[in-house]
Each structure stands twice: as C-alpha cells, then as structure tokens.
Subunit: 146 residues, 2 copies
C-alpha cells in the first residue's frame, strides 16, 4: 500500500456556489463542475479544477450530513480532508486495518462523488487530518472488477 | 492573476518527525526531506513528497511561531493551509489587494521554506481556508529578477 497522487483537497463550506465564485473571482480559478447533489452521501459538491488536482467544495445536504459537525465548529468552512489515489482500494483498506488505523463507517469501500470506491481513515490516525483513499480511476473496472 | 498548480498542503503538527513517520509507516509515503529549522519564520519543516505535490509538515519553533495558535485549537494538528504557485508573486499580491482581499503581515512577499517569495491571504477571504501564494520556482530569477 502506497499513496499515489493527491486527487483533491476537500473544503467544507456553507454554500458551494458562493465558494466557487470566490475561487473564480479572487483567484482566477474558473474551471469548475456543475453543482451536483449526492443525497445518499449527504453532500452537495462542486469541483474546482487546478492544473494538478481539484478542490472539492462540499456543502451539507440533509439533516444527517457528515459536514454539519465541521461547520458547527468552523462556520465559515475550511479544509476538511485530503484525498489520495491508491492502486487497489480493497488492499489499501486491508493495509489500513492491519496497520492499526480506524476506517470510518462499515469499513467497506463505497462509491464516492467521483464514481469510484473510497474509504476514510479517522483523523486520529494521521495527526488530526481526515484522509480519504480513492481507487485510482484509471485502474477501476467497475463493480464487476472488484 | 490565475492560480497555478497546488504546490503543497501545509499540515500543522506538534512533531514533524513523528508525523513524517506516520505518512511513511501507515501510508508508504517514504520520500521526505531532512528536518529543517527556519527560526526567522518560527517553524521546523519536513516535506513529504507525493507524485503530484508535497505535504509540508510544520512544527512551531520559538515563542512567536505562527503555528502555536493553530495547535492550541487543534492539539493533534491538522490541515493548516493550501499553497498554490503563481507566475508573478508581485502581480498576484497586487491583484489580491485590488480585489479586496487581506494579505497577511506587511503585504510584502518574503522568502518562504522553498526559497522563493510567498504571501498569505487571510482565511476570511477564502471561506476559512488560509491560502499561500508562491512564486512559481521555475519562473523565479532571485532577488535581482524581482
């Protein structure tokens, strides 16, 4: 198990469209995806694309959203997680458990906002940083390939 | 003024060497720089190198370190800033001011841990995210070129 490239930094915000406007108007980072809701994940998402990675802007969607707690502590928003690509998400999950880390949720990889399986590792394992591991999309063959 | 590539994510930690060991042992991210002290910046730094960017691990150095306040709020550490490359740091600074953002410190670019001039933009301007702008090292000609 070895970290690949940083796919994105997740940034929590009360309003993804207002946040995307800041990256566009203040910083000239105008390349962005459409606003998309993921009700089963409890988030509304916009990706701002930079030359070597994306910023994932994340707004809470629904009562059970995992972003509410973060925004309670940080009402203006802030850096929420870092997401790295791995060659094999199942092997990466197994390695995390074997090495004593805590995988959030059921521990089973699930399909994230990029359409590939992901897991999250508890911030206590990485010095307060919430780490997302994401199946490298270039190596993903869909459910049948898992 | 347009953001270029993400150069690094800054991660505050009480101990850069312990943090670097976590990235190596838990995640297999073994490529790192030597530990280096920057007394005039108030930080001790290790860079962990990933395929498309670096993680800048930052430990407070001295009483006046800008990292103390962050660690008071987040004793285990966490994500502290994102640093993006720009083609011309002076023009970028001017654009930030013109667009109503707050540049920290004196407002003058100064040499950061990478040996090129940087500025920091106040988190209030970017939805709670502290943004560092960094002269693209490939386009930097030293003090004489500024």
């Amino acid at each position: 198990m070895k970290l690949g490239r940083l796919n994105h930094v997740g940034v929590a915000t009360p309003d993804v469209d207002a946040a995307a406007a800041v990256y566009a108007e203040l910083y000239g980072a105008t390349e962005r995806t459409e606003t998309k809701d993921f009700p089963h994940l409890g988030v509304r998402v916009v990706f701002v694309t930079l030359p070597n990675m994306q910023i994932e802007l994340i707004e809470p969607l629904g009562e059970a959203s995992p972003i509410h707690k973060y925004l309670e502590k940080n009402p203006k928003g802030g850096q929420h997680h870092m997401c790295f690509e791995v060659e094999d998400i199942v092997k990466a999950r197994d390695a995390m458990i074997e090495r004593g880390a805590t995988v959030l949720g059921t521990g089973e990889p699930y399909i994230g906002a990029h359409g590939v399986p992901v897991i999250f590792v508890h911030p206590k394992d990485t010095g307060g940083v919430l780490v997302e591991l994401m199946q490298d999309p270039a190596l993903y063959q869909g459910e049948a390939g898992q």
